[in-house]
């Protein structure tokens, strides 16, 4: 709606946001890591009114030929039709494939999982970590919410029983997945000349583009993605980098 976009842009030029937040303030985060037990790890995250559930299943399969002793990481995302009235009516604002790949890169590039420890038999059998993200309610910034849910799910993930070359999915061990780091994504929406952290649905609609920065525990950047058709200045990027590293630390504490 043009009126809303104009209103949000006007507010931004007076350093205000439609829900009263500061530009580098994240919405309220609520984490439920006990929601389901059949998955090896799972979490429901509420970021404001956005709700995402991520589940981790561990399977045994063949490694990639170029990495014969490494476990495999696979991330998929599904935008459930319950999450938005826009389902199948016009182009989706965000692509579920792009989302899955951004979350995946954040985890993979920061080396969050010690994939060498997932090797069962060199070149033949490795553990496959399958992260499945299910969007339940879209109120903006699905990327960050999905990354949070995935991180919590991985951090609590345990191995299922593995006997005689077969996975017994109904029995879980106490052995945890070797997780070294927690990747945190911070997405900014560009509105006017400003970078707004954790855009809600209306801010996404009003923005010209977005920038996602994934950080690791040591403050290094592991994945970056600019999305949308607008453009960013170097100052925009530099500002976002500063905020992402600082906020990333705070969010990481919340998720542990």
């Amino acid at each position: 709606m043009m009126i809303q976009n104009n209103f949000i842009t006007k507010l931004a030029s007076s350093n205000k946001r439609i829900d009263g937040r500061l530009f580098d303030q994240v919405r309220k985060i609520v984490v439920d890591d006990k929601i389901i037990e059949k998955a090896e790890g799972a979490a429901l995250v509420k970021l404001g009114n956005t709700q995402v559930i991520a589940g981790v299943k561990l399977e045994v399969g063949e490694p990639f030929p170029d990495k014969p002793n490494d476990g495999v990481l696979m991330t998929s995302a599904e935008f459930s039709p319950i999450s938005s009235p826009d389902f199948e009516q016009g182009p989706p604002r965000e692509n579920s494939i792009e989302l899955a790949r951004i979350v995946d890169r954040g985890i993979r590039e920061c080396g969050a999982i010690d994939t060498k420890k997932l090797c069962i038999e060199d070149g033949k059998k490795v553990w496959m970590v399958c992260i499945d993200i299910n969007i339940l309610d879209n109120f903006g910034n699905l990327i960050d919410a999905s990354a949070m849910a995935s991180a919590v799910a991985l951090n609590q993930c345990v191995f299922p029983k593995y006997e005689d070359g077969k996975v017994i999915a109904t029995e879980k061990t106490k052995k945890k997945l070797p997780v070294l780091y927690t990747a945190v994504a911070c997405t900014f929406a560009k509105i006017g000349n400003h970078m707004l952290l954790d855009p809600n649905l209306e801010e996404e609609e009003a923005s010209s583009c977005r920038l996602t920065l994934s950080t690791r525990d040591d403050g290094n950047l592991c994945a970056i993605q600019k999305g949308g058709t607008g453009h960013l200045s170097s100052a925009d990027v530099e500002h976002a980098l500063d905020v992402a590293v600082e906020r990333g630390k705070e969010i990481r504490k919340l998720l542990k």
């Binding site: 059949k38 998955a39 589940g55 299943k57 399977e59 319950i82 996975v167």
Partner: protein, 226 residues
């Protein structure tokens, strides 16, 4: 006779129903039956696409039942399967008789159900959730729809089979009804039963449905009438 989880034969699993769990959907509900968890979201009545499928005299009730890949013991491949397509149809047929579709010609009422954990009875949890979500959305209905599955273990009829009980049972009979009149809107069975068995089990299922309807009503009351 003691069941694997200590329940009496006529006892339903611990059930939790919450209405209004989603903000985007016009109506929504989460239903937990033991470890089975279903989340339903309803949109509508709203414009129906594709236009050529619009029905002149009434709204179309469109349904989608989907299991999350992490919902089962072994990971399920994402996307629709033959089973999920059949369940979608069966669930839609269970809900349709309850809705006053004729009040919204050419429109669509969309019911989406996600199973986030599956431990038997997913279609019954789906129907229980969808029915609350439809009422939550303010859609006019003749009655709620309540559902439960009945089985037979060691000669005893048992209500609301849990996952580990499925292989012990002689059969699996999911039933849904509009609890007021007891009109049956879903009836399926696979197994090996005498016709007396079937008659008794349907009766028992309907009695359990009446109890479930109480919980559905309470969930709606809690959400709207604080």
């Amino acid at each position: 006779m003691k069941r694997s989880d200590g329940r009496k034969p006529e006892e339903v699993r611990p059930m939790e129903i919450t209405a209004g769990v989603l903000e985007n959907a016009n109506g929504s509900a989460m239903v937990k039956m033991g470890r089975t968890i279903a989340i339903a979201g309803v949109f509508g009545p709203r414009e129906m696409f594709p236009r050529r499928l619009q029905e002149f005299a009434k709204a179309s009730l469109q349904c989608r039942y989907m299991m999350a890949p992490f919902s089962t013991d072994e990971r399920a491949r994402p996307g629709p399967s033959r089973r999920s397509k059949e369940l979608t149809m069966v669930i839609r047929n269970a809900l349709e008789p309850a809705v006053f579709l004729e009040e919204f010609p050419k429109a669509a009422i969309d019911v989406f159900i996600d199973i986030i954990q599956a431990d038997a009875g997913t279609r019954t949890a789906a129907i229980n959730a969808a029915s609350v979500a439809l009422a939550d959305a303010g859609i006019p209905m003749r009655d709620l729809v309540s559902s439960v599955a009945v089985g037979k273990i060691d000669g005893k009829y048992v209500v609301d089979l849990a996952g580990p009980e499925e292989e012990l049972s002689d059969c699996d009979m999911p039933v849904a009804c509009m609890p007021r009149e007891g009109s049956i809107t879903l009836l399926q069975m696979d197994g090996d039963l005498s016709k007396d068995d079937v008659k008794h089990m349907v009766k028992i299922a309907k009695e359990a449905c009446v109890k479930i309807a109480e919980l559905q009503k309470e969930a709606l009351r809690k959400r709207w009438f604080k």
